[in-house]
């Protein structure tokens, strides 16, 4: 936006009307002169009037412009210009992409080093009057002066957290939105295509990205530890690879401190690796690739619960439950026993489904209450609805269900819901299902989700264990209600059950209820970080309209363009001189011609 050193001088723009006024005043009724040779005048003017009119208009225009230019010069206009020394106080958000992909070694050093160097050059252009922020993958804008942010940059490490560049720009825009001074954003990034998303950028944006193509990369995108818990006979993991390396790479996996098992896998493919039997408990599984230019995605961790399979007793009158139990038994996922009772309320751990006869609900509720279960069955609902997709069960239609009602205050222990209503809950060692596992009540028994659901239900949920969660560092991971602490090695974080936990680093985190481990979170690099292919510059300009895409080292030359001011007085005075000379030449020339 244009600014003026002496805005009051703009009042002089009224003087621009002087030539026009003079022109109009001169057009008033002139004196009459008797002149016999008027016919000669008429002949003369007929031939030249149009040309003279144009000449007069041009002269009027030139003179008016001359006045305007002189007044503007007196007002001292200053306009934002790039490449000029000095700038007006500005607001700058320096976004440095230190996501895992920035650890890619390129030319003997990590790309983050180049980005940090470029970021320091940008900061060197700042003045004490500028408002500066540094935004990295942790997503927290850090305000400081040149020295403070320079120190931050110097100590900046590669983060395990992914950085969504569109999200980062939106956040930077919000920060600048609070500032009255001209703002701009400098984004220094490897510009992964997988990190680029649309964003409305209302301020000048300089994107510094290396134009050299990234090196080939292979990374582990998935470590699937399969159904839990593992039996004492060991288990198998599936390791999937992502990236752009075409060659087969060796993959190794290990559980705990046992020896690693190896296999070959291609990018885009997966390898299955059998792991040896271990004692019951929680185990960390690691998968690893041979080192390449990006190390962070070459290792992935998971958590495995090793325990004896559930000893289940079930109601054989429920045809679908009985069939599923038979299949689980045949696959050695359960054994017949009395540890867990499926269908009715028993002395031990019980998975209770509502009775077929509604008249028995009252007695069941009384028995639940006598057992100290905090939930009971409410009214029968016949409106078809769907389960809310979650870790326990996917989206499945439910035609009939009892509303599960908490008997006390609060409603803890909800494991699955239908249209927001509790459908599967746990209280102590009792799980309540809102519907019978029968096709008249729900489609679940006839869906492919039924067997995993049953396995989960009897082997983990009924035993007080939660779903193993995957997440990237920094991403919020929902916690079960009862969890009070999260532990990783020697580190512990007190948490509130039902809330969220953001893993700060890579690795496996265990969820504790009192001293019992009830679940785990595997925090790994986002698999999209393995895709190093950069977004094309055209796509970037299309997504971020104000973006200027340059090499990182050139970003410093373009920074503060929004606040850089060019003094227009010199050019305006030269323009005025030019107009004056033009007026002189035109007036003299035309006078001679006439």
């Amino acid at each position: 936006m244009i600014g003026f050193l002496h805005p009051w001088a703009l009042l002089g723009l009224g003087a621009a009307a002087i030539p026009i006024l003079l022109h109009l005043l001169a057009r008033r009724e002139p004196p009459t002169v008797v002149f016999p040779a008027v016919r000669y005048l008429i002949t003369t003017t007929q031939e030249h009037r149009r040309r003279l009119k144009l000449q007069n208009l041009l002269l009027l225009l030139v003179r008016t412009l001359l006045v305007i230019v002189l007044v503007l010069a007196a007002a001292g206009p200053q306009v934002p210009l790039s490449g000029v020394p000095g700038h007006a106080p500005s607001a700058l958000v320096l976004v440095v992409d230190n996501s895992p992909s920035s650890a890619t070694v390129d030319g003997g050093s990590a790309r983050l080093g180049h980005l940090v160097a470029a970021g320091r050059e940008v900061l060197e252009r700042a003045t004490p009057n500028d408002a500066l922020w540094l935004l990295t993958a942790d997503g927290v804008p850090l305000r400081g002066d040149v020295g403070q942010l320079g120190d931050q940059l110097r100590e900046l490490q590669v983060s395990a957290r992914r950085m969504d560049l569109g999200e980062a720009l939106r956040l930077a825009g919000e920060v600048l939105g609070t500032q009255a001074r001209p703002g701009e954003i400098v984004l220094l990034t490897d510009l992964q295509a997988s990190a680029v998303s649309a964003a409305e950028v209302a301020v000048p944006l300089v994107v510094g990205r290396p134009s050299a193509p990234p090196p080939p990369n292979a990374g582990i995108s998935l470590l699937d530890t399969g159904a839990q818990p593992w039996s004492g006979e060991g288990g198998r993991v599936v390791v999937a690879l992502a990236g752009d390396s075409g060659t087969a790479v060796p993959v190794s996996a290990r559980i705990g401190d046992r020896g690693a098992r190896q296999a070959l896998a291609h990018v885009g493919g997966a390898a299955t690796i059998m792991l040896p039997a271990v004692s019951p408990g929680w185990w960390t599984v690691e998968a690893e690739l041979a080192a390449d230019e990006l190390r962070l995605d070459d290792r992935r961790v998971g958590a495995v619960r090793v325990a004896p399979v559930a000893r289940l007793g079930w109601d054989s009158t429920s045809r679908f439950v009985a069939t599923a139990a038979g299949v689980l038994e045949a696959n050695r996922r359960i054994v017949r026993g009395a540890e867990v009772s499926f269908g009715t309320l028993a002395q031990g751990t019980s998975i209770v489904s509502p009775p077929a006869d509604a008249a028995e609900v009252g007695a069941l509720n009384r028995a639940l209450a006598a057992r100290g279960v905090a939930w009971g069955y409410g009214a029968l609902t016949l409106d078809p609805a769907f389960t809310d997709s979650g870790p326990v069960v996917g989206r499945t239609r439910v035609m009939r269900r009892y509303r599960l009602q908490p008997s006390g205050s609060g409603r803890t222990g909800v494991l699955a819901t239908v249209a927001g209503d509790p459908w599967l809950v746990r209280s102590g060692d009792v799980l309540l299902l809102g519907s019978r596992l029968d096709p008249e009540w729900t489609d679940l028994p006839v869906s492919t989700d039924f067997m995993p659901f049953m396995d989960l239900l009897v082997n983990r949920l009924a035993r007080g264990e939660v779903t193993l969660a995957d997440g990237a560092p920094g991403d919020p991971v929902p916690l079960p209600d009862q969890v009070t602490r999260v532990r990783q090695g020697e580190r512990e974080w007190p948490v509130e059950g039902g809330g969220f936990f953001r893993p700060p680093d890579l690795g496996a985190y265990y969820l504790l209820v009192a001293d019992d481990t009830v679940g785990a979170i595997a925090a790994n690099v986002d698999p999209r970080e393995s895709l190093l292919a950069p977004a094309p510059d055209d796509q970037v300009r299309q997504l971020w309209q104000e973006a200027r895409v340059v090499e990182p080292a050139e970003a410093g030359d373009l920074v503060f363009s929004a606040g850089a001011l060019g003094d227009l007085r010199g050019p305006l005075l030269w323009a005025a001189l030019g107009l004056f000379l033009l007026e002189l030449v035109l007036a003299t020339l035309w006078r001679r011609v006439r």
């Binding site: 009459t32 002149f35 016999p36 040779a37 016919r39 030249h48 006078r591």
Partner: protein, 308 residues
């Protein structure tokens, strides 16, 4: 001013500034002064003939007409002499004067005579010269119609009537030269001289047509294009409304902007008149009202002498 006064001053009035000359006296007196001055600069015609005014005697030669033998000298000296008379002129001239309103204009009243006043004095002088040469001189004055007609006479007594008629003329309204020029045919039955005095702010096509007609009848035609010096170059206030005194046509302009183009236009108009006249054997003279009469008389009478 009297003739003696002019002589006493030793100045030739025909070469003085016309405005100064006009301040010396009335039309008749001033004209005589101008003509006197003019004639002193000329040699008399060497041609002698048997006209009505005796010039000199010469020895009789065989073949001479016996009617012109001076019998008195024969009686006294017994020698044969014949009388020789000044050649009788056969030139008949008609002055055609434009007295339209535009002729009454002067661009500088204190320095330059109005065109009509200048033309009146010029015609008077021209006529007096012709009359003194025994040439018959007549006058036709016109504006938008013929206002005065004085048939050509060669008598000196005609001079007074001529000058009275001329002095009585005043500026009329519009300009229509063709009827006046056609009236000349009625007045000049033999070949003669027609002097057309006008500022030529008229219909050029019609005027040229009438002038060509006169040429066709064998008359020598002289056009004196009277121009005020202020008509040659455009001047005036920064912006003015210029109005034609005859047609009231007007145009608003800034003289400074148009001076150059106007000068070119006037030169073009004069050039066109000159070219058109030359093409038809008409003698054209551009006469500005600050030109001494003598210069104009010399030019004009040169045409007349060639005619005679």
């Amino acid at each position: 001013m009297s003739r003696s006064a002019a002589s006493a001053s030793g100045a030739r009035l025909d070469l003085l500034d016309p405005l100064e000359v006009s301040r010396l006296g009335g039309l008749e007196v001033v004209t005589e002064g101008v003509v006197e001055g003019f004639l002193t600069g000329l040699h008399r015609s060497p041609r002698r003939g048997f006209s009505v005014e005796f010039a000199e005697h010469r020895m009789y030669q065989p073949g001479d007409d016996l009617r012109y033998v001076d019998w008195k000298i024969l009686g006294r000296n017994d020698r044969l002499y014949v009388k020789q008379f000044e050649e009788e002129t056969n030139l008949r001239a008609m002055m055609v004067l434009d007295i339209s309103r535009s002729m009454a204009w002067t661009g500088a009243p204190d320095r330059v005579l109005p065109k009509l006043a200048y033309a009146q004095r010029l015609i008077a002088a021209l006529s007096l010269v012709l009359l003194r040469q025994r040439d018959a001189t007549g006058l036709i004055a016109f504006d938008d119609e013929v206002r005065a007609v004085l048939p050509p006479r060669a008598l000196l007594s005609h001079w007074r009537q001529f000058i009275q008629t001329l002095a009585a003329l005043s500026a009329g309204s519009g300009t229509a030269a063709e009827p006046a020029l056609r009236r000349v045919v009625e007045q000049l039955r033999r070949r003669g001289l027609v002097v057309f005095v006008s500022d030529l702010l008229l219909d050029r096509t019609l005027a040229l047509k009438a002038l060509r007609f006169l040429r066709h009848r064998g008359h020598q035609v002289v056009v004196l294009h009277i121009l005020d010096p202020a008509e040659l170059t455009l001047a005036g206030p920064a912006e003015a409304r210029f109005e034609d005194p005859e047609t009231r046509a007007a145009v608003v302009l800034r003289p400074r902007d148009w001076a150059g183009a106007y000068r070119e236009t006037v030169q073009h108009v004069v050039g066109e008149w000159r070219l058109a006249c030359r093409r038809h054997g008409i003698h054209y003279h551009k006469v500005t009202t600050d030109t001494p009469y003598g210069l104009v008389l010399r030019e004009t009478l040169a045409q007349g002498s060639r005619t005679g």
